[in-house]
Every structure is written in C-alpha cells, then in structure tokens.
C-alpha cells in the first residue's frame, strides 16, 4: 500500500497533464501524442504473446487489417466509427486466429518466421488488391471518426478519442495480466512443459494471447485510419512490426509498464527522424544500447540508479550513510 501510493499519484498527474495538453500545447503536440497513444496500444497488445514466449514479428499486419477494414467500411458503406472500429478489430482477431491456430505449435524462431512472412504477405495484398485498397496509390479520403452521430472534426477531439481508446485497452490488458489468465501466460513463458504437466492446454492459451493482441492491434489500426485519413501499404510493413517489438524490449519485458514506457520513449525520441532512413538507425542503436547496458529495459533504470547511489554512500562514508 505504502509503495503503490506514490505510483498512483504519479499516474494521476500524468493523466491530468494528458487531459490538459490540448489547452497548453499546440496542434502539433496533440497530433504527435495521438500517434504515441496508437503506438502504446500496439506495443502493449504484443505483450501477452511475448509473455507466453512467442516472438511475434508481424504485429503491424493486424494493425493493417484493422486500418483497411475500418477505413473501407466507413468510406464505402458509411458505417459509423464505433461499428467500423469493431469490424476492423474483429477481422484482425479472426485472421489472427486463423494464422495462429496452425502456427502457434511452432516454437521460437519458427513461429517468428511465420509472422514475418505474414506481415509481408499482408502488405503485398494491400498493394496488389488495387480495386479495393487502391494499392500503392494509397487509400485517401478516409472519413473522420463519427461517434454517436457526431463527427470528431478537430484534432483535439480526436486526441481525446485516442486517449480514451488507449486507456480502455490498457485497463483491459492490465486486468488480464494480473489475473489467473495472465499468470498462466507467464507460466507458459517460463516452463511450458511444466505448465502442460499441470493440465494447462498451452496451445489454447497461446492462441488466446495472440488473438487478443491481434484484436487490439486492429483497434489501433482502425483509429489510425480515421486519424491520418490516408493509408499507404508500405507503412504497415516489417519495419513497423520490428519497431513494436523494439518498444517491448527497450521498455522492458519484466513489467506491464515496460511496453508503455518503451513506446512513449522511443516514439517521442525518434520523432525528429520520423519517415527518414535515420529512424531505423536510431532504433537499432537504442536497441543495442539497451541490450548492452539495460538488459531488463528502461523500467529497471530507476532501480539501478537507486542501487548505484546506495553503493556510493557505502563507499564514501558521510554523515548521511548512518541514516
């Protein structure tokens, strides 16, 4: 209780700041933060699968499916945003289920290869299926999000929508992680043979983690489509998928906050390089530095700093060391 109070206070402060941002910051920051929220959803939704020990390097494929589905539903059939978003997420989850069912029996690198192949296949479909997606010309004119009959025309209103979506997704994922389900996922990641011997149907649990992740990636994609209003297949390629993975590793895999911290940190820091070749170089360098100096990710940094300070106080005898 005593330990969680400062954390709860800090979270509340962050939330208030995020709620107030549109009043203080300019349109640019509102736009930027909304993109960060999308990245947070993508990053956090990859976590259940990683927890089970499945390396998924194709998460952006499901974002792509969610984005195109929602965009096409809204554009061609004038479906309201709340329905098209759900449609995109459900289709992403459905495809995830179909891909996951046969391939989740594969372990480690073999499963990772299937996801890599799938993300490229999805991108190619989006490029080639011109009558539907307009291919590399890009799908433009995606309607702005329209909720309960109201069109969210301003960047600020869309920002609040993104914030709400992120909070809901994070809340659900948080509850799942700290439930029996989350513990079973963790147990599969630690020792899948032991979990099996205790009666856990590991194939089903892995499939559930993977499909849930795909669902929320679909949610992120659907919002992205109506926010940017222009979809371009190469954006959903292998590169974005690896970035989502890098968020998880750089943020840290040991705690729920890891992928969130990683996504926020990297999205903000890489902003000057967005869309340029330097972005990839930046991500690689950060990934390498993390592996070398912070193998537990950014979330282990505060603990390490405290440890460092303690060691200093011990070596240098000062009046404060007696306390």
């Amino acid at each position: 209780m005593r330990r969680s109070a400062p954390i709860a206070t800090a979270l509340l402060v962050v939330l208030v700041l995020l709620l107030l941002l549109p009043f203080g910051g300019g349109d640019y920051y509102v736009y930027l933060l909304a993109l960060v929220f999308i990245n947070v959803i993508l990053s956090a939704s990859l976590r259940p699968s990683l927890t089970c020990g499945q390396l998924n390097i194709g998460h952006s494929a499901f974002m792509c499916i969610g984005a195109y589905t929602s965009a096409l539903l809204a554009k061609n059939l004038a479906v309201p945003f709340e329905i098209s978003l759900l449609g995109g997420a459900v289709l992403a989850a459905g495809v995830g289920l179909a891909i996951g069912y046969p391939s989740l029996r594969l372990r480690g690198v073999y499963f990772a290869m299937v996801t890599v192949a799938f993300v490229e296949a999805t991108r190619l479909v989006a490029q080639i299926w011109v009558p539907l997606t307009r291919g590399n010309a890009g799908l433009s004119g995606v309607p702005k999000p329209r909720i309960l009959g109201m069109t969210l025309a301003t960047r600020t209103s869309q920002y609040y929508l993104a914030l709400c979506l992120m909070l809901v997704v994070l809340l659900i994922l948080y509850k799942l992680e700290y439930s029996r389900l989350g513990l079973v996922w963790k147990s599969i990641g630690m020792a899948d043979n032991l979990a099996q011997s205790l009666g856990v149907n590991i194939a089903n649990y892995k499939l559930l983690a993977f499909t849930l992740g795909c669902f929320f990636a679909g949610v992120a994609g659907a919002f992205y489509a109506h926010f940017i209003r222009f979809l371009f297949p190469p954006e959903f390629g292998f590169l974005l998928a690896t970035n989502i993975l890098v968020y998880n590793f750089v943020g840290g895999r040991g705690h729920f906050a890891g992928p969130i911290v990683g996504a926020v940190f990297l999205s903000l820091l890489s902003e000057p390089f967005r869309g340029s070749p330097y972005e990839t170089i930046f991500y690689s360098i950060v990934m390498l530095l993390t592996i070398l100096f912070l193998p537990g990710g950014l979330i282990t940094l505060p603990g390490k700093l405290v440890g460092l300070r303690r060691r200093r106080t011990v070596t240098a005898p000062s009046p404060s060391s007696a306390v």
Partner: protein, 253 residues
C-alpha cells in the same frame, strides 16, 4: 485392476529403440520404482506415460481408459501427473503461486472474475495451496521466489505443485537426486505419506538407498527393455541386474 498398464510400449528415435516392448503394471496404492543404468530408457518411459512423447507402438491404459497418444494436459486431467528431473519450476514466481498454478485443472475462472475481481485467486484456492505447502513442509517459504529457494526445497516444491493437480498416479522423476542423506530421507518419508493418503506412486531414482527403502516393487530397465521385476530384495540380488549395473565379469566377456 491395475491403475496403470502398458503393453508392448515402444519408442524409436530414428534407428534407436529407446524403449522397446515394455510391459509395465502398477497396482492401485503401490509405490513402484523404475531403475536402470543411464540411458536405459527411464525418462523416455516417463515422457511416454505423461504424453510428452507419442509411442511408436504399444498402448498405455490408465484407470481402465486407453490414454495412448493423448496430449500432456489431457493426461494430467485424467489424474496422471508427473514431476520433472532437475528443478523445473516457475522460477520468477513465489512458492505459493507455483502451487496455485498447480490447481489449474480444478480452478474455474470466468471472464467476470478475470476483469472485475480484485483478487487473482479466490480465498479457497489460496487456503488449499497453503495447506499443500504446509503438508510438504514449505509453509515458511510460501512467499519466496522459487529461484531463491535452496535445492532441496525446489525439488519438494515440484512435488507440491503436482499434488495440487490432485493426481491418482504421481510420476516422480528423480525426486531425491542431489540431496544429502537427511533431505532424501525426509522426501522419501513424504512420498510414503502421499501414498498413504491414496495416491499411487511410480518413481525413477538413482539413489539406490532411497529406492530400496521406499519402493515395494522395482522394475529394472536396461537398453530400453525390461530386465527384471520384483521386490527390492529380489531385484538387488538378481544376477542380471548386477551385471547390467556393474558390467559382466571377464569370464562372460
């Protein structure tokens, strides 16, 4: 009727017959030891029985039901639960959480419980797990991470988790390996108590003192085949068994 019966159980790895034509019978309430020199096929046998490997040929009947080819979680659900060699545990979880996961088969968690309950585990499951920890002598370390436990405790924790799954037949893979005399004595006493509470036991172990002192019947494997079977006294004086362990005398070579 025996609780476990295998007929012609065979497993080939490529050209190697790791287990061939093994007929194994375990009666309800017995403590049976499975011994043999290294590479005799004991662990392969365990993997076959618990569903981690599919037999090349032969059948496994457990509790009157043919369980050949079932997957590990299905085998466990029928009450045939195994432990692992070495210390296979959920190392980053506490001892209590490890046992709580052992309750998996008998726990019901609906979506409502997952999303809206503040507790991960209902109180009755925590109570049941604490009871198992107390029974196995681990109550004092319930809140410690499994990886921080001493070796002896880790091995016993493996047994405690298996008990949580409510086995009718417990397969113990080298339960006292790496333990000192006092520790192994305590674990073998625990094994007897578990049996007295109604769980049949089949164990693989290299510690002959422990095996001879605890098991009522012993099956000896060598080169994947059943070499001998009988009481500890009969097996330990059998010429074939001595030959398998110590090698044949020069005059036989």
């Amino acid at each position: 009727m025996p609780i476990l019966e295998t007929r012609d159980l065979t497993k080939h790895f490529g050209g190697l017959a790791a287990v061939s034509h093994v007929g194994l019978t375990v009666g309800e309430g017995e403590i049976v030891g499975l011994i043999g020199p290294n590479g005799a096929g004991k662990t392969t046998c365990f993997n076959l029985l618990s569903g981690f490997l599919r037999p090349t040929a032969g059948t496994i009947v457990f509790g009157g039901e043919d369980i050949t080819g079932l997957r590990p979680h299905q085998v466990a659900a029928r009450g045939l639960v195994r432990t692992f060699q070495l210390t296979t545990l959920f190392h980053e979880m506490t001892a209590l959480e490890n046992v709580l996961l052992g309750l998996h088969l008998h726990a019901r968690a609906g979506l409502r419980q997952v999303l809206f309950s503040r507790r991960i585990f209902p109180p009755d499951e925590v109570a049941r797990s604490s009871e198992i920890l107390a029974f196995t002598g681990l109550a004092a370390v319930a809140d410690q991470l499994a990886r921080n436990l001493p070796h002896g405790h880790q091995r016993v924790l493996g047994i405690a988790m298996a008990l949580a799954a409510r086995p009718r037949l417990l397969l113990l893979d080298e339960p006292v390996t790496g333990m000192n005399l006092e520790e192994s004595g305590r674990v073998m006493a625990l094994v007897k108590t578990i049996r007295d509470r109604g769980t049949t036991i089949l164990l693989v172990e290299h510690n002959m003192k422990a095996v001879m002192g605890t098991c009522e019947r012993i099956v000896v494997l060598n080169f994947g085949q059943k070499l001998a079977e009988g009481t500890p006294a009969a097996v330990s004086t059998s010429a074939a068994v001595i030959e398998a362990y110590l090698g044949a005398g020069l005059e036989h070579a």
